[in-house]
Amino acid sequence: MPLVEPQKLLKELSELWVGLGKGDGASQGVLRACAMTFIVVTEAENTDIGETLAALMPEHPSRAIVVILDPKAEDVSARVFAQCWMPFGRRQQICCEEVEITTPPGKLKDIANVILGLTVPDLPVVMWSRCPSLFDLPEFSRLLPLIDKLIVDSNGVEDPSGFLQRLVAIPEVLVADLAWTRLTRWRETVANVFENPEFRGQLPAIHELVVDFGGDVPPTRGYYLAAWISACLGGKIQSSMHHVEAEAGIHAMALKNGGFQMSLELLDGSQAELRAGTLVARLVFQRPNDYMLLREELKILGHDRAYESALAGALDMSKTS
């Protein structure tokens, strides 16, 4: 007899809703919302995701299934509970359901069927892996057929080339990397600069991209940025990455032709300085947290061609650098 049965968990979820509906009389009822099944795979020492999930729920209400890989766990166990919040000025609380499954890594394959039974019908299934070693588990491939989109984070990986290679090799699932999502603000700023026809006229002559990065190795998002710009400009650009004393990640970038330069550099706090020709502007440039990155990524449930192209280009660049 399996320790964790989907049917039993679904019954518990149902009872949970009935209980919430009865409430304490003060909450004036409960609204239920669900737009997807959101599976989070994380390690036992890294389970501080409650706040991120709670923050995501208002915009991406989901059934969250949190799978905790715990080497110390003897067997698979599960519990269900609700994430509720009371929007300001409203009398009804909004609740989303959460299933937490703890499993020893070796039994990951056993929970594939549990997850299958718990996914919400007719809605997309997205998995966020916070566990870099997940790729190395043979059981990982059992989970892939269950999901529509896999979200990983290559931020801080020591072997960018190896990591990108693994991403490229994942079959038949949409893949997203939060390192690419971190680039949106950079990319959007570049795009907005060249909305100006005066600056856009400089594009044909641009021949050089310089990326300054902090940290021990060039970050994957440095490769992504270079690959994306190169693809946008038809591949006729020389890219280089320079180490600077700064927080890990991209610190600055500059696009150059003979007489024109467009640059973007992070400043202290949540600001950046943009220079394009004689134009100088300060921009709000918040460092995104997991919530902000996932909020963006969960909006995209189809192909992201720009990312797919950048992933292939970044892999090539990382191999040759």
Binding site: L31, A33, P58, R187, F194, R200, G269, A281
Partner: protein
């Protein structure tokens, strides 16, 4: 032709605003302080404005740029609707693009100075000569301002030039036509953006998503299944210092002619072939042109004017309209207007569209209620002893809520749990604020952004404005020649009895929102 921007990524980036400047006429006025600058600051905060974005304000009051910036800072701090705290650093950057030109709009020199300042900021702030002009002056000054701009050549430059005009567009059909002609001598119709902030509201836009993004409801969206449509825009407040304006305008002109007929056109229009500005506006215009024009006899049957009298609401004495400050004690102004419109096309023939609006009603609410026909054969007893459906049960209703809580509700009958077959109405609710926790942009943020991008979908066109004036013209004419026995409803009630009677003649009654 300039090359396309190779860096754009429509999947992830918000629509981008090209480099540009915005000139606000009436920059010292209430609208600029309460709505325009807060909306622009919020757009800057959300990174929606291009680097080098410039605002050039104009009004009569003499003040240097810095004094204008200080005034606008105070206005933004007081009126910003977003949930982000005011950011000093961001403001500094935003304020560096705020400039001011003092000058009387009747003086040709004012427009020449504006032209010179625009040429200067084009050089220093790299905005490519693109300019959005915003008329935020008294409506009577729209014509003279546009003529002044024309004489100074402000409609021409290195980039695009667009004009946003606030409502009201005239005070009747004839004045609307004259105003349109005046404006069109300077700006082509494609560059004129007549703002109706109701169309910028998220739920009004969602009506199109709801109707044309789903296959479930559109098959029911016609005379075979819809019994009647009720559009309500109720305000619980009185004049709030707008006595002078309101006394001249009245509820019919202030709300029905523009906002509510535009809302009705969104609810009732045919699906456009494409979701692009002129295709959508063509369908709205066609619908407005299909509104049956009332005869004087029709007006007597299908339109009701009201004016509130004094009352005590919750222990507080509330003055009647005629007792409000700045109001003529014998005023004949309608503070309540209700009308039954019919749309003469194949989809809607015979379906009444009831529209009502008023001040000092019991609560602030704007919604659209679509009542579907009852089941053709009722299996459940509705009357007498042992009735299975409670009397007056409100079901078969689809409610599109615009304010205060934006969302959609479907009311239908459901079996009450337990013994027997007793039915009761239940509500299935979709709430914008709770289903999507993200802040909805204000109507002004949406509409200003659209104008800067050049998307006129949510703006009204000359033919739409004229069609809606035509629809209310017979009512205006009869009312202006009538003497009403006002007041005819007490503050805090749902309007005059005649309004209920108007629906009763069709066998209907107002729902209580």
């Amino acid at each position: 032709m300039s090359q396309a921007n190779p860096f754009q990524d429509a999947l992830r980036f918000e629509r981008s605003v090209p480099p540009c400047a915005m000139v606000i006429f009436g920059a010292n006025g209430d609208l600029t302080r309460r709505k325009l600058l807060p909306a622009l600051y919020q757009l800057a905060h959300d990174r929606r404005l291009p680097a080098g974005f410039t605002v050039l304000g104009n009004s009569r009051t003499a003040m240097p740029d810095d004094a204008f910036r200080d005034k606008m800072k105070e206005a933004v701090q007081k009126n910003t609707e977003g949930d982000s705290p005011f950011d000093e650093e961001l403001w500094k950057d935003f304020a560096s693009g705020l400039f001011y030109v003092a000058g009387d709009i009747s003086d040709a020199a004012t427009y020449n100075t504006i032209r010179e300042r625009l040429e200067e900021v084009e050089r220093t702030r790299h905005n490519g000569g693109n300019v959005l002009y915003y008329l935020s002056t008294q409506p009577s000054q729209y014509g003279p301002v546009v003529q002044g701009m024309g004489k100074a050549g402000l409609q021409n430059g290195n980039g695009w030039r667009r004009l946003v005009v606030e409502k009201p567009f005239g005070h009747d059909l004839e004045s609307a036509r004259v105003l349109n002609q005046t404006i069109q001598t300077v700006f082509p119709e494609n560059d004129i953006y007549r703002i109706d902030h109701y169309l910028g509201k998220e739920t009004v836009q969602n009506v199109q998503a709801f109707r044309f993004g789903n296959g479930i409801f559109e098959p029911l969206w016609n005379r075979r299944y819809v019994n009647n449509v009720q559009i309500t825009a109720a305000e619980s407040i009185g004049l709030e210092g707008r006595g002078g304006y309101y006394q001249e305008a009245g509820a019919l002109r202030d709300m029905i002619q523009n906002h509510l007929l535009q809302v009705m056109s969104t609810v009732a229009m045919e699906p456009p072939a494409l979701f692009e500005p002129n295709a959508v506006r063509d369908e709205r215009a066609k619908l407005l042109r299909s509104v049956r024009i009332m005869t004087p006899d029709d007006v007597l049957q299908n339109a009701v004017a009201g004016q509130y009298g004094p009352a005590n609401i919750g222990g507080t004495d509330v003055p009647g309209f005629r007792q409000e400050e700045g109001v003529d004690p014998n005023s004949q102004t309608d503070t309540y207007a209700a009308a039954t419109f019919f749309v003469d096309n194949w989809r809607w023939a015979g379906v009444p569209f009831y529209i009502r609006t008023g001040k000092r009603l019991p609560k602030r609410v704007t919604d659209i209620a679509i009542r579907f026909n009852d089941a053709p054969l009722s299996l459940f007893r509705r009357d007498g002893e042992g009735a299975q459906v409670p009397p007056g049960a409100q079901a078969n209703l689809l409610i599109l809520r615009i304010q205060p809580e934006e969302g959609i509700s479907l009311r239908f009958l459901s079996k009450h749990p337990g013994e027997g077959m007793h039915l009761r109405p239940v509500s299935m609710d979709f709430n914008y604020g709770t289903s999507f926790g993200a802040r909805s942009p204000s109507a002004y943020e949406t509409l200003i952004l659209d104008a800067l991008i050049g998307d006129a979908t949510l703006y009204t066109r000359q033919d739409m404005v004229e069609a809606s004036w035509k629809a209310v013209a017979p009512i205006q004419e009869l009312w202006s020649n009538s003497k009403f026995e006002f007041p005819n409803y007490a503050a805090g009630t749902w309007g005059p009895k005649a309004s209920d009677e108007m629906l009763a003649r069709h066998g209907h009654e107002w729902r209580v929102p």
